[in-house]
């Protein structure tokens, strides 16, 4: 119970930081959560060790059950491919309710289970990998309007009130 509260607080802080950054920059384009952290680093000659130490990948901790923000990269029928900043895209089912809003470019909240689906079969030397990540779609964070991109502040306030409540959970 306490862990879930702490996780939701982390997500709230991340979201507030995201909005602060986007409003300070002044552009209405959607900034990916992971890219924002790496882009704000001012030092150009950082070594790989320091870049890795300060990356979101290190701050993530255990992957199992972690809430992360992702961006829909592609949608094929009822499947969405969500890019959350790691190697593979997560493949989730689109929920039946509010299905139109899950378009390419929309930001979603997912619960990451495994960054890469791979398993060792009996007798084989190496694991067999499916080249995709496993995650559960929790909620839609921001919409992508068809005509023009506008920020909907009342919707954001609604999202802040209940971040951990799964409105439309969908597990594949």
């Amino acid at each position: 119970m306490l862990r879930s509260l702490l996780k939701s607080r982390q997500v709230i802080c991340g979201l507030r930081e995201l909005r602060a950054l986007s409003t300070s920059q002044g552009n209405e384009s959607i900034i990916d959560f992971v890219d924002t952290v790496t882009e704000t680093s001012e030092a150009q000659n950082q070594s790989f060790a320091s870049l890795l130490r300060n990356s979101k990948f290190m701050q993530l901790g255990d992957f199992n059950g972690r809430l992360v923000v992702g961006k829909i990269a592609q949608r094929v029928q009822e499947d969405v491919y969500i890019d959350f900043g790691l190697k593979f895209n997560a493949v989730c089912k689109v929920p039946a309710l509010n299905s139109e809003a899950y378009r390419s470019g929309a930001r979603v909240l997912i619960r990451l289970i495994d960054p890469e689906l791979s398993e060792r079969f009996l007798g084989s030397k190496h694991d067999l990998t499916l080249l995709e990540a496993d995650a559960v779609l929790v909620r839609l964070l921001s919409n992508v309007p068809r005509q023009q991109q506008q920020r909907q502040k009342p919707r954001g306030a609604t999202e802040e009130e209940a971040p951990a409540a799964p409105e439309t959970p969908a597990a594949h």
């Binding site: 790496t38 950082q46 870049l51 990356s55 255990d62 790691l86 060792r120």
Partner: protein
């Protein structure tokens, strides 16, 4: 180092025999009297290729002629996610030299090693392009096949992204007819097929003595490849970055070639 010099010498010999036009004749006549190695040096060169370095062309003496060291940045590679490998269970033992470590089962490439090998591969691509060589870009990743085709077409090179027909390089006369020019270098943007096996073009290029550049992931097999780029080959952002680098290398080589031709 030996493999680099040997590949450079092989490339130099292949191009010098191939381009026997009038432009090459005065250069050959001047160099034939002074800078041709004798038989003893050639025999020693088969065991120790570095003794042939004084006979190599002046542009090949430079380790980083096109200055790619300053063009490749660690933070750009990091942003393009070149450092993510596969899980530990899929790691090939021959790729452990390029890994920085693993965290929670996910392997991570050392981008310092990747940068060193990428700069070397980019210099080779630029040198091949400087001498008018033809480069074939090959991938079997469905997510990036259109990007590879477009990138190769933009710089006037060639690509193959569909299912590889067996014998395309080794049995060209039967499949494609007579007098088909083979590529001078093959660049593999992904070395594994969708079934997890090695791309069949790797072995065919090795049989035809065509130098190859391969982007090898942590589960790939680096055998039979001439130049390695240990990096992530599954993410579209990573492949996009590598394609941009290779396009820049080909473009720099072509510009230098144009400048040299205008100079003569």
């Amino acid at each position: 180092m030996r493999r680099v010099v040997a590949a450079a010498i092989r490339t130099e010999r292949a191009f010098s025999t191939r381009f026997s036009a009038s432009q090459q004749k005065p250069v050959a006549s001047t160099s034939s009297s002074s800078s041709v190695p004798d038989r003893a040096t050639l025999e020693k060169g088969t065991v120790q290729p570095t003794v042939l370095k004084p006979f190599v062309s002046a542009s090949l003496q430079h380790e980083d002629l096109f200055n790619f060291e300053k063009m490749v940045h660690i933070d750009e590679m990091f942003k393009a996610r070149l450092h993510y490998g596969h899980k530990v269970g899929t790691v090939n033992n021959n790729m452990k030299w390029a890994l920085y470590g693993e965290r929670l089962g996910v392997c991570l490439f050392d981008l310092d090693i990747t940068k060193k090998y990428l700069v070397r591969a980019l210099n080779f691509v630029a040198h091949v392009s400087l001498r008018g060589g033809m480069i074939l870009f090959v991938t079997s990743n469905r997510d990036t096949m259109f990007d590879v085709e477009k990138a190769a077409d933009e710089v006037g090179q060639y690509s193959h992204v569909r299912k590889w027909q067996s014998g395309t390089l080794t049995n060209t006369r039967q499949l494609l007819g007579a007098s088909v020019r083979l590529p001078d270098a093959v660049c593999f943007l992904s070395t594994l097929t969708s079934l997890g096996e090695n791309h069949p073009a790797i072995v065919e290029a090795a049989k035809m003595a065509i130098p190859t550049i391969g982007v090898v992931d942590s589960n790939s097999d680096p055998a039979y490849l001439t130049y390695l780029v240990p990096a992530n080959d599954d993410t579209p952002q990573s492949t996009e970055y590598l394609l941009r680098m290779f396009k820049e290398a080909v473009r720099k080589g072509q510009e230098e070639r144009k400048r040299q031709q205008q100079g003569k």
